[in-house]
């Protein structure tokens, strides 16, 4: 009967652990997250620039080179998501893997893969757009709005 209530002990331990976590966790996590995001995001853009510089050196027009670079990066993002490497990298790199267009490809493939059991039409085919859909909706909506503003002010 001298033994302290184990439930109470547990509560104190949890409290202490939380306090410790609050002290230690936030700041260093944000700093390392940022270093990872900057480095990985930068490297992805750097790879794209290497591809684009090569295409430009073959005499390709700037618009075509830029298009093929984007398409190549989308393909790589999709492929590495399929293999399972991209999401592993994403756990550390965070926004460094989300913000580049490879992250757009990642969002498409990752959500589509998850819903394969719902079929290839309304599973994979529909879930492909669970993140890409809203992204395109807002992108197009803003672009059309800006276009209409220009029409309005030039006429």
């Amino acid at each position: 009967m001298n033994v302290p209530n184990p439930d109470k002990l547990k509560k104190i331990e949890i409290q202490e652990y939380d306090n410790l976590l609050q002290q230690i966790k936030p700041k260093p996590a944000i700093f390392t997250n940022c270093v990872w995001a900057f480095t990985v995001g930068g490297l992805i853009c750097m790879l794209a620039q290497i591809i684009q510089n090569y295409l430009l050196s073959t005499g390709m027009s700037k618009i075509d080179a830029s298009s093929i670079t984007s398409v190549t990066m989308i393909f790589l993002g999709a492929l590495f998501t399929g293999i399972g490497i991209y999401d592993e990298l994403g756990k550390k790199a965070g926004a460094g893997t989300i913000v580049p267009i490879t992250g757009f490809a990642n969002a498409i493939v990752a959500s589509a893969m998850e819903f394969k059991r719902e079929g290839y039409v309304f599973g994979v085919g529909a879930r492909l757009f669970s993140v890409a859909g809203p992204t395109l909706v807002f992108g197009f909506a803003v672009a059309v709005l800006i276009g209409l503003i220009k029409v309005f002010f030039t006429s």
């Binding site: 853009c45 750097m46 989300i98 993140v131 209409l148």
Partner: protein, 119 residues
């Protein structure tokens, strides 16, 4: 060599901003919000003429982040408006982004069918 370094710097900086937004708004802002936010911000900044200078400095460091995709949509729209007026406002964005969107859909579908999620 300079263009490659600048792509690293500008691309890295844009990703760093995204990471800061996510870390300071946890857990309200998801990766999906980041994608939507970046394409919207890119399209708006492009319309104000503020994104092209970033592309001139950073090359793919500015075009590969999703804000660059928004920039592409807006510039495609504005160019088409000059040629075709109001029809261009509707057709320009999709025309400019056609290759990227088609690639994302087709590659995305094929790869999602071939591979299975881990774990």
């Amino acid at each position: 060599m300079g263009s490659i370094f600048m792509a690293f710097l500008i691309g890295g900086a844009l990703c760093l901003i995204g990471q800061l937004i996510m870390d300071f708004t946890k857990p309200a802002v998801t990766p999906g919000h980041i994608l939507v936010g970046y394409i919207t911000a890119g399209a708006v900044l492009s319309g104000l003429g503020l994104y092209q200078p970033l592309v001139d400095i950073g090359g793919t460091g500015a075009t590969i982040p999703l804000s660059g995709f928004g920039h592409l949509l807006t510039q495609g729209t504005l160019k088409a408006v000059e040629q075709k007026g109001i029809l261009g406002a509707l057709s320009g964005g999709a025309e400019a982004a056609a290759a990227g969107i088609t690639a994302a859909i087709v590659f995305g579908y094929i790869i999602a069918v071939i591979f299975n999620p881990k774990g």
